[in-house]
């Protein structure tokens, strides 16, 4: 090995050691408010393979733990088997609650099916897909309801829909999306949902939902979603969801509505970042 490769290998080794030692799990203390257990959740999470995601289901579960999420729904694009693997793994390690879900990617709409058991066909109108979700005991949530998807949610579909993503990372990137999500949410009596539409990029739970459930079981979470017992906060300080629960949460000093904020990186994290990027650059250019 020439000296450049030794330098690259050394930098990457330092980065791996610093990164691995700084990679710790932060757990949420159990929070009870008004007789409900408050759960921090993200219901739109994708895993490898088949869904344009980079992390395998078990890695996704560990990442959810690291981001202090009490519950996630793994929502494969038009399939549920990856979610079932994630749910099984989380059960084994005592991780966060993993709900089996699917993002039904149809040509005219995207719909989250949360708490289902088997794959729901995408070649059907939104109202029919929602009926099938309900038959399986799940809840139907409109995924990133941009204007282009509105036509698929006709009056029949809207009367059956349980919730809508009022907050999604697109809202921070494109202002029209921020407005369209809120306008869609205002179209009906819908459960407020904040999701990160996670594909392995950035922090899981960057947009999240606070669910007020009787416990952290999948059935209790689905019941809470069906009952509209959620609160969502955006980075502009605006809140969505059940007004009584928003008030209840605001009264409790232990409730932190900004859990999506990453703590500032410490020395080890910065060391891992700088040495890692520099080491890989050397390795790529001079390997």
């Amino acid at each position: 090995m020439n000296s450049t490769r030794w330098v690259a290998a050394g930098l990457i080794a330092v980065s791996l050691i610093a990164g691995t030692f700084s990679d710790t799990v932060r757990k949420n203390p159990t929070l009870m408010l008004g007789g409900y257990r408050v759960l921090s959740a993200d219901f739109h999470v994708h895993s490898f393979p088949l869904s344009w995601a980079t992390l395998a289901p078990w890695d996704t579960v560990l990442e959810a733990q690291r981001h202090r999420l009490d519950a996630i729904a793994i929502t494969g694009h038009n399939h549920v088997w990856v979610a079932k693997v994630g749910s099984w793994f989380s059960y084994l390690i005592g991780g966060p609650t993993v709900l089996v879900g699917e993002e039904i990617v149809a040509p005219t709409y995207h719909l989250l099916a949360i708490g289902i058991d088997h794959t729901i066909a995408w070649r059907q109108p939104a109202a029919a897909a929602i009926d099938e979700i309900h038959r399986q005991g799940g809840v139907a949530i409109a995924a990133h309801p941009l204007f282009e998807y509105w036509a698929a949610f006709d009056a029949t579909a809207m009367s059956k829909l349980d919730g809508a993503e009022v907050l999604h990372p697109l809202a921070y990137v494109r202002f029209p999306a921020y407005v369209q999500f809120q306008e869609f949410y205002a179209r009906g009596r819908l459960t407020a949902i904040g999701d990160s539409d996670y594909h392995g990029l950035g922090p899981l739970g960057m947009c999240r939902t606070y669910v007020f459930a009787r416990d952290n079981s999948p059935s209790a979470i689905v019941d809470a979603l069906r009952a509209g017992h959620t609160v969502v906060y955006d980075r502009n300080g605006r809140s969505y969801g059940d007004p009584e629960l928003i008030h209840l949460a605001s009264q409790d000093p232990h409730f932190n509505p900004n859990q999506f904020d990453e703590p500032p990186p410490g020395f080890l994290v910065m060391l891992s970042r700088v040495t890692g990027v520099a080491g890989l650059l050397f390795l790529i250019l001079f390997a």
Partner: protein
């Protein structure tokens, strides 16, 4: 061998990125180096950089928890590339040019510089920028333009590989390139994002 020529073992990726035609012409004249390690080392580097990118993008650091499994999963991309290369390798010509398959793999992957640099820049954005800014700068729409430009650049590099390492005509090199891309990219898209593929096709065609 003169002192001005490099052996494949010491060929910097940078040279192939910047002067692919000259680099591959020079390499095609070098004596055959036969070692199985040649078929593994650059595909492994590609998988490792991909694994590191996954770790940086997800957790903002290099952690063994993510680098190790992600490198293993990323190996499927490298394997697909090798399979596609095997499929398009002109067998009769390769005998004439006396290129061992292991060496072909090594030289082919030495042309992956643009993709590796893109992965690294992508990782750097997700690592150093605030999440909202990273979504803005490296989100799906931005990627399309960059990936398009990279596809052209890497396409030219691989064209030079087929032209000079396999010593084929320009027409045959172009055919090899298109076939290699068709095989490898189709397989990668199916494995990586095959779930909504049929629905997306229906939407795109307006069926």
């Amino acid at each position: 061998m003169t002192s001005t020529t490099s052996t494949p073992a010491s060929l910097p990726t940078l040279r192939v990125m910047l002067r692919p035609a000259a680099s591959y012409q020079e390499l095609s004249r070098l004596p055959v180096v036969s070692s199985k390690w040649l078929a593994v080392r650059r595909p492994l580097l590609f998988a490792f950089v991909l694994g590191c990118t996954v770790s940086f993008a997800a957790s903002g650091r290099l952690t063994l928890r993510l680098v190790v499994p992600a490198t293993i999963y990323a190996a499927f991309v490298a394997i697909i590339e090798v399979v596609a290369l095997m499929a398009v390798r002109p067998r009769t010509l390769s005998k004439a040019t006396s290129q061992s398959f292991c060496r072909s793999v090594d030289l082919f992957f030495s042309g992956f510089g643009p993709w590796l640099l893109w992965l690294l820049s992508f990782a750097a954005v997700w690592t150093f920028a605030a999440p909202v800014n990273a979504f803005r700068w490296a989100g799906p729409h931005w990627d399309l333009y960059v990936v398009g430009a990279l596809a052209l650049w890497s396409g030219y590099i691989d064209f030079c590989f087929f032209r000079y390492v396999f010593q084929t005509t320009p027409q045959r090199a172009a055919r090899c390139l298109l076939m290699q891309r068709a095989i490898s990219w189709t397989l990668a898209v199916i494995i990586f994002g095959g779930g909504p593929l049929r629905s997306e096709i229906v939407r795109s065609l307006g069926i």
